[in-house]
Point group: C2
Chain length 310, copies 2
Amino acid sequence: MDLAEIHAAFRRIAPYTHRTPLLTSRLLDALLGKRLLLKAEHLQKTGSFKARGALSKALTLENPKGLLALSSGNHAQGVAYAARVLGVKALLVMPEDASPFKKAAARAYGAEVVDRGVTVENREAVAQALLQETGYAFLHPFDDPLVAAGQGTVGLELWAQAGKRGVFPEAVLAPVGGGGLLAGIATAIKALSPTTRVYGVEPVGADDARQSLLKGEIVRLAEPPKTRADGVRTLSLGRFTFPILREKVDGIFAVSEEAILEAERLLFTRTKQVVEPTGALPLAAVLEHGASLPETLALVLSGGNRDFSP
Amino acid sequence: MDLAEIHAAFRRIAPYTHRTPLLTSRLLDALLGKRLLLKAEHLQKTGSFKARGALSKALTLENPKGLLALSSGNHAQGVAYAARVLGVKALLVMPEDASPFKKAAARAYGAEVVDRGVTVENREAVAQALLQETGYAFLHPFDDPLVAAGQGTVGLELWAQAGKRGVFPEAVLAPVGGGGLLAGIATAIKALSPTTRVYGVEPVGADDARQSLLKGEIVRLAEPPKTRADGVRTLSLGRFTFPILREKVDGIFAVSEEAILEAERLLFTRTKQVVEPTGALPLAAVLEHGASLPETLALVLSGGNRDFSP
């Protein structure tokens, strides 16, 4: 994956995605002593950046009969949306005990949810059987060059939007789960501005990416981590994403659950934006590791799909 | 109060306020069968339109020693902010049992909160005594031409922003409590476009404005109404605002608590915006009275100051 492939992904997906705004907040800047540019992917189609990757891949398929994914999160909605754009069916394999809220969200986008008798253990086998039966195309949530190139368009856009304002971020921070978003953004940013640092952010209890970069090999968590940030509960980086992060990313910050909650609260009360816990990870890193970070920062607010509580 | 006074208010406050964006949502439009323009006053300085009115009045005072207000809500923050702009002190008289969250918000803006021994019953007497003692200027939350002219700048701005997109709203909907916002907006809109309808929205349990317009005289609620929409718990319209509403407003919609909650939920989950219950009133009217409303509507999201719950 290189900058040209991210440009190509941008051309594919542009008609079906938003150029999400780059928000600023003088209140947050004054509070934190930084200059923050907030890339508002919570305002993206389907409420997260996942629509970009799913579309980027789906739009390269030749006459697909349908799309199939294993996900109960934002990737599910991205795939459902991509299927609607293509005018084909989406099959989403989710554990029977996945949140009814998330199943409903996927169905609202017109996808069919397969959950009868599905568990975390057997879901890959269920998906494999369904792929053979239906002939649908499988969309991996992150470990695919075309998906990661789609997510990389976030970096492309934010760099252009910052430049238009005459601002050049010294560092870009994005959440890291499987690494598709971070690999895409790092590829874009390092090609456009090699001196700009690119950092991933993950919860302390799910710091497999940090450990993997330190150890020089993929470290896999023993079990799904407990963290508010449900978008980065992935057990490990992918075989495709890991070498890219190793080459291009300057470091991974691990943040506490308290810092994630405080970052969500700041975004909610100060910027009046609904951002999900995963989307608040980069701001949590500014709260907890601000002293190690330069002044001008672009933070990727990756998504906004959280339940409404009155 | 006329359009020229609203223009003058705009010139006074423009350096210290945001031109808040006019948001659109294809999802909401498709869901409701309308074309909605959302005037985002939850993104205004202090998190609500109240900063406009407070500044509009405060900036006409000659060398004030300080500002004093009776409020535990958004007006308090507006006055605190106006005092900071002027470089003078703000005194806010609040009942001792007002929410600590709201007291903290006022203090965060640099205001002094007077609450020791203050009750809903004695607070006007407390304020009167403080005014004599301090010589500060009193800022009424709504029943003042300069305050209402400040709130009217919301109408001025939204009309210009809509026009820039080639959209001319057939109706404008705003919350109504004491009537300052609605009087200001109706004055601006009816001067700019006499055929555009202007409606107020209030909760069914606090429908004094609706009753007042029907009866042709100010109807006063017997006690503070119970409603989620804490910004419109005012007992009655003002002597200044009532005749303006009577002359210029096309009607008042009363909405149920269920509709308010559903409107908040829609704004939260579909537009990812944090809007307080009062700010969701206009959308609640579209949910409950959509059939009586034209297609192209401007809705004033009046504020976004709500508590964060994880």
